[in-house]
Amino acid sequence: MNITEILFWFLSALALTGALMMVTGKNPVYSVLWLIVVFFAISGHYILLNAQFLAIVNLIVYAGAIMVLFLFVIMLMNLNADNEPQKNKWLKFAGLIAGGSLLLILVGALRQSDALRTQALQTGGEIGLIHHLGKVLFTDYVLPFELTSILFLSAIVGAVVIGKKGD
């Protein structure tokens, strides 16, 4: 086992533990903190995959900005462990079966991943660098990149329409 594999298994275990603790945790603030652990572990995976820029952006945007938003919402809504509504038992059961079926299919598909291993890392180590990303964004993917501005503009207009005082 070389260092990459050790890191991979460590980060995977960390991500899974964090995700499970986040879902099962009773206290929402603890859940948010576990979610941060998940984000850090996934960023570590991105670095292992040679996607340094993505790793940094993931940390800045998710672990930074979005987490703060989450914490604000939780604090403003004053959620506690005891006022969490009790869900219907049958509903939980149905959810378990539906989610479990999807998991089964995904696991079944990923059993093929042995075959995929040969395909990885053919593209070279430069692919995740910001230099390469910028070049691709402004040549091959220039249309989606520009179209995103319409999406953001409509979200901004929407925020103003919903949030403006006085009506």
């Binding site: 299919i105 995904l106 079944g108 598909a109 093929q112 075959a115 995929l116 395909q119 040549t139 091959d140 993917y141 220039v142 249309l143 989606p144 179209l147 995103t148 319409i150 999406l151 503009l153 409509s154 979200a155 207009v157 929407g158 103003v160 329409v161 919903i162 403006k164 006085g166 009506d167």
Partner: protein
């Protein structure tokens, strides 16, 4: 590309117009001008005059079907603005912003109709969805509107997540976002990854077009949203999602059709059954139309199911028939004070024209001959037959269409055979002329669908 470009620019223009133009009622006229601009720009592109001819490295595909479909939708937008512009202004304090959001939605519609790359499809779907969440909740004082917006937003965000997961699997299996590269055959190496992608895309697109069992948001959202925006969501937006659906499944996944058709059959049967049977029990016309839009989606799913040469024609005709009829019926409904079936009582005596228009729209939705709905249903079902669908599936659809006659005709029965209360409807001459024009178009499509619309697909 003309339509995408013009609608984005006009959306920005409307947004700035709200800043400088103090006359509120100017918004409607400006929007109408924009809709005319979209339609003419799109017609020009259909005849070869495009601002941008580039396909941006295979991101877009300017095929005739997509452009013609966009023409139909932009004509529907003109009628929508003509008939309901006043009500959009009356929703709240920001008329220019509502119109701006509607124009942004139209640019998303353009993307969904012309995409050739899953990234562009994703952006198009999001550009359609995010303004719609806002418009659903634009009646801020109304709790039902707030609830609908929140529900729509949460469920929509979830389905977006599923969509992205599907794209990720497809990328993992094929290494590309382009539709042509996703075109796969049985026995490819990474077939399982692709099949998972297909299933996830099927789920999230079914959610977007409100097919059962992913329809639970539809009645609440359509009922809670301001009625003008319900009209927009149920017609233009739904038709737009369908062309995206068809392009993905016929453009990329047709080689795998024996894998996804069984689940698709179940979705169609459930959608037709739940939509039609539940609509029978509704007391509010608005809620009934929400369920009827689910039922109509069941019919449009047939053309996605078929994915053959008839599929494009049938979806085009169905979208035209469905959009025109539903916009016409909603335009009459918006003028009512009472949205229950009783609200329609005795309308024929007071407003014979409105009652007549509503009847023609209802006939078309139910699929009565001589109206557009009949040929639309006919083409959709024959496309399914041609693709080798089970005969029982088609017979089931016809029976369900017969069920739909019951709840549609309750409106006609209320208008013509019952004595009504004393309600006064405020109408303008422009409104009445536009309604007449809708009726003329519905009848035209119902008598000569080929020369009125379908031949344009193959002409030139």
């Amino acid at each position: 590309m003309n339509l995408i470009l013009f609608s984005a620019i006009w959306g920005v223009g409307m947004m700035l117009g709200g800043l400088f133009i103090k006359n509120r009622s100017a918004a409607k006229n400006m929007a109408l001008l924009g809709a005319l601009l979209l339609t003419s720009g799109n017609l020009l592109e259909l005849n070869g005059f495009a601002v941008f001819k580039s396909d941006f490295n295979g991101m877009l595909d300017y095929n005739r079907f997509g452009l013609l479909y966009l023409t139909v939708l932009s004509v529907a937008l003109i009628f929508y603005f003509l008939l309901s512009g006043k009500e959009i202004e009356a929703v709240g304090k920001h008329p220019f912003e509502y119109f701006a959001l509607l124009f942004f939605v139209m640019s998303g519609v353009g993307l969904v109709a012309l995409f050739n790359n899953l990234l562009v499809l994703f952006l198009g779907i999001e550009i359609i969805s995010i303004p719609l969440y806002i418009l659903t909740g634009s009646d801020k004082r109304n709790l039902k509107s707030n609830e609908a917006a929140l529900k729509y937003f949460l469920m929509g965000a979830f389905s977006t997540g599923i969509f992205l997961l599907g794209i990720a699997f497809l990328y993992g299996g094929s290494g590309s976002f382009r539709l042509q590269d996703l075109m796969l055959q049985q026995g490819d190496q990474y077939i399982v990854l692709l099949l998972i992608g297909v299933v996830l895309l099927l789920i999230s697109l079914s959610f977007k077009v409100s097919a059962a069992p992913f329809h639970f948001w539809t009645p609440d959202v359509y009922d809670g949203a301001p009625t003008v925006f319900t009209s927009f969501m149920a017609t233009i937006v739904k038709a737009a999602f369908f062309i995206g659906f068809l392009k993905v499944f016929s453009g990329a996944f047709s080689g795998l059709s024996e894998n996804w058709r069984p689940s698709f059959t179940i979705i169609i049967v459930l959608t037709l059954l739940i939509g039609n049977i539940t609509a029978v029990y509704q007391q509010s016309v608005k809620r009934m139309l929400a369920y009827s839009s689910i039922a109509q989606a069941g019919f449009m799913l047939f053309s996605v199911y078929a994915s053959n040469d008839l599929a494009e024609q049938s979806l085009l005709l169905y979208a035209a028939a469905y959009c025109l009829s539903t916009i016409g019926l909603f335009a009459v409904l918006i003028k009512m004070n009472d949205y229950t079936f009783e609200g329609f009582n005795g309308l024929a005596k007071k407003e014979p024209l409105l009652a007549f228009v509503a009847s023609v729209c209802v006939f078309s939705l139910a699929g009565i001959p001589l109206t557009a709905g009949f040929f639309a249903k006919f083409y959709v079902l024959s496309a399914a037959m041609k693709s080798g669908a089970n005969l029982w599936l088609v017979i089931f659809a016809v029976i369900m269409a017969a069920v739909s006659v019951y709840y549609y005709f309750r409106i006609i029965a209320a208008m013509y055979f019952k004595e009504g209360g004393e309600q006064v409807l405020v109408t303008t001459p422009v409104y009445k002329w536009a309604l007449m024009l809708v009726v003329v178009l519905i009848l035209l499509l119902g008598v000569i669908p080929e020369s009125a619309l379908l031949n344009w697909l193959v002409l030139y």
